[in-house]
Subunit: 253 residues, 2 copies
């Protein structure tokens, strides 16, 4: 599948991490739509971090974004992961067709956004402008609360959503076919398993449908090819899902 | 103005705080649309907190929400502030007409949602299930970073958005007339001034357009009547915008 229109799709996101940009990358990859991951181009081709700084400062012609990820499609410049997905996914056939389904998908995506923000704050509970090492004591306390309370609560919720989506036979969060929310759920589950292997193992037995969804997304031909490619950056300790053993729970018994 | 259709609008939100529900209340009030603030009804009329717990547990007929605020409109049950506003505001003439305007409005609303989450975490940096008193040391550190770095950054951003919206002559965040984003901005500015009077005073001179927007929203006849009514709950130390003097910055010189 090629781009459904002649639009050129540009993504502006930090070039060395999955981060929040990965939710957008996964959408393009599953759709088979050509996109330019601008900041991963060499500086001499208009890439690098300076391309991000430039679009953040642009004004007048379009609304300035607050932070990456940002996409540019024709004259539109859009930030905020959930806004971007809501805009792009229907173009690629990866959103529900009906209004109710679209509202539900967006609602679930925003709940994933909330979860991702909480994950971020496990290693940065005080300030994003301080190093992790300078807020490690607070991080331990926050991560403990996250792993013991919030992680089971969020994943239990999404498992329930899957179980109750009877038209989707428990295979999709919304509706009867794959949507962007399923892709984002895959990413969140992968990230959680990376960052909190012990904490994740503690809840794994309670989320069989989520694990099956994760595996089915990973096995989709385009996604599998992407995940095996060099375009998929590895998780690392610069991104959102960081593996700091001291922030993980205790091993499952 | 009455409801544009025969729909009955129900809001489910904690009855004793402004909190995130206030963004929805402001929309209904400015639109002059009749709504039922369900949990503020007496229990014997189906109100109280038990009404919220009931809709949170509902399943099968609709997607279970993760958390309030929640609205019910006909057969639709919708959660997440930004999703609710995006759904309702166009019905009430309080959203931009064009796609670009709608995308921009939603993007700004999600940035306000991010800001509100950071405000919440100034008093709950470790866990929502712990009392403030049990995370006071961490709260002081987080609030200091918020007041000194994040508050000026966010408000400077929104001031810039206003300044660059030439079609709106600096009076509206998006487009040429009032939208739900302006209402939410009013609420955030009011809350910040309540919670952080010193911190807010430090940035006030840098945000003249935002302050004018806040005042013009407060002076709109329907809003002014609402703000003076008993339907408007006062800010308090159960909500998101809490005034704890020890978390505020130092007085402006």
């Amino acid at each position: 599948m090629t781009s459904p229109s002649s639009d050129r799709y540009e993504l502006y996101y930090w070039p060395n991490i999955q981060g929040r940009g990965e939710f957008i990358r996964l959408l393009f990859e599953e759709a088979g739509v050509t996109y330019v991951d601008v900041a991963r181009l060499p500086e001499r081709e208009g890439g690098g971090v300076s391309a991000i700084l430039q679009i953040l400062q642009a004004d007048g012609a379009h609304l300035s974004p607050f932070a990456p990820p940002i996409i540019r499609v024709g004259e539109l410049v859009i930030a905020q992961v959930a806004t971007i997905l809501q805009f792009l996914a229907p173009r690629f056939g990866l959103a529900p067709e009906d209004e109710r389904g679209r509202v539900e998908a967006h609602q679930l995506q925003l709940t994933l956004v909330d979860l991702v923000a909480e994950v971020h704050d496990t290693h940065h509970p005080i300030s994003t402008s301080l190093y992790y090492e300078d807020q490690k004591a607070e991080a331990k306390r926050r991560a403990s609360a996250f792993v013991e309370e919030r992680l089971p609560k969020f994943l239990g919720y999404f498992e329930k959503v899957l179980r109750h989506n009877r038209v989707g036979a428990g295979r999709h969060l919304v509706g009867t076919s794959l949507t962007y929310v399923d892709l984002s759920m895959f990413q969140v589950l992968s990230g959680l398993a990376h960052a909190f292997p012990n904490g994740f193992a503690q809840v794994a037995q309670d989320i069989p449908l989520l694990l099956a969804l994760r595996d089915s997304v990973a096995a989709r031909p385009r996604l599998a090819a992407y995940l095996a490619s060099r375009r998929r950056l590895p998780f690392n300790e610069e991104g959102i899902f960081r593996h700091y053993p001291e922030l993980d729970g205790t091993p499952a018994r």
